[in-house]
């Protein structure tokens, strides 16, 4: 029973950062913006969160710092893609590359330092239910509120939204910032709760997996929960199996989450009709208001 609880707990801690980042990106993509820089925002969140907690001793301040880091990164992305209408794919990649480089530089002094761990009750830290509550809130917001409707409208046709008098760019900025906050928080969770220490490149592709989760969830928040917990389970499974089954090389088990991501993408994307019906129509398309 204890064994079962321990495994369930590790699955939850593995799933939570994925869910946080995925839900944020889901809102961004619903507004028609593709931010591939989740990995970069996440790693910046991780290093800034760790650093702030390390110096102040407060995980609360750490989490706030990680959110701030994610938002700052997302603003950089927003300025380029929304104000300067640069290519969203390339800019997202740039954000990731910059984030990975910058975090390495910032975090140099933190390597090997003891971290501060987020408080928890019976192993459950506040962000585990927090992430699920956030999903519920996002789901309600997107599908039950006027503001959520506006976001979906902007993602479906920015030209129509513009001609009805909505400020497309402002809506997208807000969504991009929300996505940055979520990704930053997800990073902070990694360095403050998941493995309370700083390791270079510690996100290890989780930002990209979160991006895949959004596709897997076909842009519906609740499906992201299912996806995140599924992936959490798979990555934990690979560690758990490593300790038992000596026959299978650990590298193969470690590559399991990445392979599963590919398989999930293939399965979901293969259904072209469903993809076309659910993908925000303006996803990744630049918008310049005419005058």
């Amino acid at each position: 029973m204890d064994m079962f609880y321990a495994v369930a707990l590790t699955i939850m801690t593995a799933a939570t950062p994925l869910l946080l980042a995925a839900v944020g990106e889901l809102v961004v993509e619903r507004s028609g913006v593709l931010n591939l820089g989740v990995e970069g925002m996440m790693i910046m969140g991780a290093v800034c969160g760790f650093g702030a907690a390390f110096y102040t001793g407060s995980t609360g301040i750490g989490l706030i710092a990680s959110i701030a880091a994610g938002v700052s990164m997302s603003l950089l992305f927003g300025f380029l893609t929304l104000t300067l209408v640069s290519n969203q794919v390339a800019t997202g990649l740039a954000l990731t590359l910059l984030g990975l480089g910058l975090s390495g530089l910032i975090g140099e002094g933190f390597v090997g330092q003891p971290g501060v761990k987020l408080w928890s009750v019976a192993g459950i830290d506040p962000l585990i239910p927090g992430a699920i509550l956030l999903t519920a809130a996002v789901s309600y917001f997107l599908f039950r509120s006027k503001a959520g409707l506006v976001i979906r409208a902007v993602g479906d046709s920015h030209v129509s939204a513009h001609s009805l008098g909505y400020n497309v760019i402002a809506v997208r900025y807000l969504c991009v910032m929300f996505g940055g906050a979520c990704a930053g928080l997800a990073g902070g969770y990694l360095s403050l709760a998941y493995t309370p220490q700083w390791v270079e490149n510690m996100t290890a592709g989780r930002g990209w997996i979160a991006l895949a989760l959004v596709v897997f969830a076909s842009w519906l928040p609740w499906r992201a929960v299912v996806g995140a917990y599924l992936f959490g389970a798979i990555s934990i499974l690979s560690y758990t199996v490593q300790t038992f089954a000596l026959g299978i090389p650990s590298q193969f088990l470690s590559s399991l989450p990445y392979l599963v991501t590919i398989i999930a993408l293939v399965v979901i994307s293969g259904n072209r009709a469903m993809m076309r019906a659910n993908t925000p129509a303006c996803l990744g398309k630049p918008f310049v208001p005419d005058r």
């Binding site: 509120s145 006027k146 506006v150 979906r152 409208a153 030209v159 129509s160 001609s163 072209r272």
Partner: protein
């Protein structure tokens, strides 16, 4: 001031300048409550610019607007709606993935209550003869139904002025009649309608007043009921009306393009499937396919051009050769040429020079353009120069990017590029969509001349005037089915309208009659 002011809206000496272009120049327009006021003009005369300023989507460079006699500033569409101005755009501002009710909610101020709104939509839409299902997703609706959403969206805000931009361009004649009844009722209730059109007959029929724009200036303000269509046209175009020389008396030869029970499944949730289409186009003949947008025209074009492969080769024969499974370049090699509806991004690459755009469609047919895999720039430049000269393509430099050309000039280039090959078969979708009168006349004349020289021409068009001007025979496409092609002399707008509403119904009715 006593009583109501005489005018609801006045635009006084309004001008709008884009760079060096004076889109509107000293325009004065006065609209009374309860009147249907036509705004007439050719493409590019400045009608859209003017109404966008009235709707707050653009700001005038100079001049002023008055609302009920008082000067107003309309900074954005929300402010216009607050005044009581509603607008139905030519290109709808709808959201395909959202429901009817959600689409309307986005334009409504105040509380967000979808259930109550849905109930109001059902009631008002039924009341005005424009029935709508609030929970339907827009992507599943026809163009006519989409327009209803736009109209109901305006009506729910109880507008005092309703602006309609070319509303009947996308409607069947019967749907248009229903719209006219709705507009007449609105006018009786005191709502003014600003009606933009270049269709003179309908303006004569429903409008009380007409302001005519030419090159951004007001040239006349008339009572359309006292004018003839010809006199209105003269005011619009400014005397020199382009007349296309009819070519009805040329020789009709063998079948060159043949569609034989052509079927094509829809390729997505929002696409139309083609059902059992048969048609023969003969040498020397122009056949026009009429129809309301979204009834399978683009799918038919893709099937003919080879951008979508057919299930069997013998569904499509080019000069007798089964070509249904051939690619677009094989079809071109057999003498066919294609001009799609979308100029930028389909018929031409916007960021490419004109000479590169020559290579785009002619790399497989012209040996002078590609030699052992290497593109011959000189050959392409020569063709582009020849096309530009013979079709009078106006451009700022010898080999500009396609996107820098105006719509009419680019369309002349895109059509000229194909005609320059002297194709045996030409398939063209919406040849003069959004093109000014001068370019339209050039293009239509070139198409007629091509047919006269023995080519088979298939024109897909939504423009009935154009169809009657150039077609020898007319068929109608509706929900992916094609009616029989009848000689143009035996067709009328009413008959085409009936066929548009449902070719299969007419066919069934006729079968029933024969039985």
């Amino acid at each position: 001031m006593t009583g109501e002011p005489e005018y609801l809206l006045e635009a006084l000496h309004v001008a709008k300048v884009f760079g060096t272009l004076r889109a509107n120049d000293d325009v004065t327009l006065k609209v009374k409550p309860g009147e249907i006021h036509a705004l007439l003009g050719e493409n590019g005369a400045g009608k859209s610019t003017l109404v966008k300023m009235i709707y707050g989507a653009l700001q005038p460079t100079s001049g002023e607007f008055r609302w009920l006699g008082k000067p107003v500033h309309i900074p954005n569409p929300a402010a216009a709606r607050k005044l009581g101005i509603g607008m139905v755009f030519q290109h709808f501002s709808l959201f395909e993935a959202l429901t009817v009710a959600e689409n309307i909610a986005l334009a409504m101020p105040g509380d967000f209550d979808l259930a109550a709104l849905s109930e109001r939509i059902s009631r008002v839409s039924k009341d005005y003869g424009l029935p709508l299902e609030p929970n339907a997703v827009v992507a599943d609706l026809s163009v006519g139904e989409r327009q209803r959403i736009e109209i109901v969206r305006c009506l729910l805000q109880e507008p005092r002025l309703l602006i309609m931009d070319e509303p009947t361009a996308v409607l069947t004649p019967q749907e248009a009649d229903q719209l006219f009844r709705t507009l007449a009722r609105l006018a009786r209730e005191g709502c003014a309608v600003l009606y933009i059109s270049h269709r003179l007959e309908e303006v004569k029929r429903i409008c009380h007043n007409a302001t005519i724009l030419r090159h951004g200036k007001v040239v006349a303000n008339v009572d359309p009921t006292l004018e003839t269509a010809a006199s209105l046209a003269r005011l619009m175009v400014g005397g020199d009306i382009h007349i296309v020389k009819s070519a009805r008396k040329h020789k009709i030869g063998d079948v060159r393009l043949r569609l034989d029970h052509l079927n094509l499944p829809p390729d997505g949730p929002f696409s139309v499937g083609l059902k059992d289409i048969s048609l023969e186009v003969r040498a020397g003949e122009i056949i026009a396919i009429a129809g309301v947008a979204g009834n399978g025209q683009s799918e038919l074009f893709d099937a003919l051009s080879g951008e979508r492969e057919l299930a069997r080769a013998d569904m499509l024969l080019i000069d007798g050769t089964p070509s249904g499974k051939s690619g677009i370049n094989e079809r071109r090699d057999r003498g066919a040429a294609f001009v799609p509806e979308e100029r930028l991004g389909h018929g031409a690459v916007p960021s490419f020079s004109l000479s590169d755009n020559v290579v785009l469609t002619r790399h497989s047919t012209d040996e002078t353009l590609v030699k052992s895999g290497v593109v011959q720039k000189s050959g392409a430049t020569e063709v582009s120069g020849r096309v530009s000269t013979s079709f009078d393509v106006r451009k700022a430099k010898p080999d500009p990017e396609a996107r820098s050309l105006s719509g009419g000039n680019l369309q002349k280039f895109v059509i000229g590029r194909e005609l320059d090959r002297k194709p045996g078969i030409l398939v063209v979708n919406q040849p003069t969509w959004g093109v000014d009168a001068g370019a339209s006349a050039t293009i239509r004349q070139a198409i007629i001349d091509l047919a006269r020289d023995g080519s088979a021409v298939l024109v897909i068009s939504q423009d009935l005037d154009e169809i009657f001007e150039i077609a020898d025979r007319i068929a109608v496409i509706s929900r992916g089915e094609l009616s029989e092609a009848h000689p143009a002399s035996q067709m009328s707008a009413e008959k085409i309208g009936l066929l548009m509403a449902g070719a299969h119904e007419v066919k069934e009715a006729r079968h029933a009659h024969i039985a």
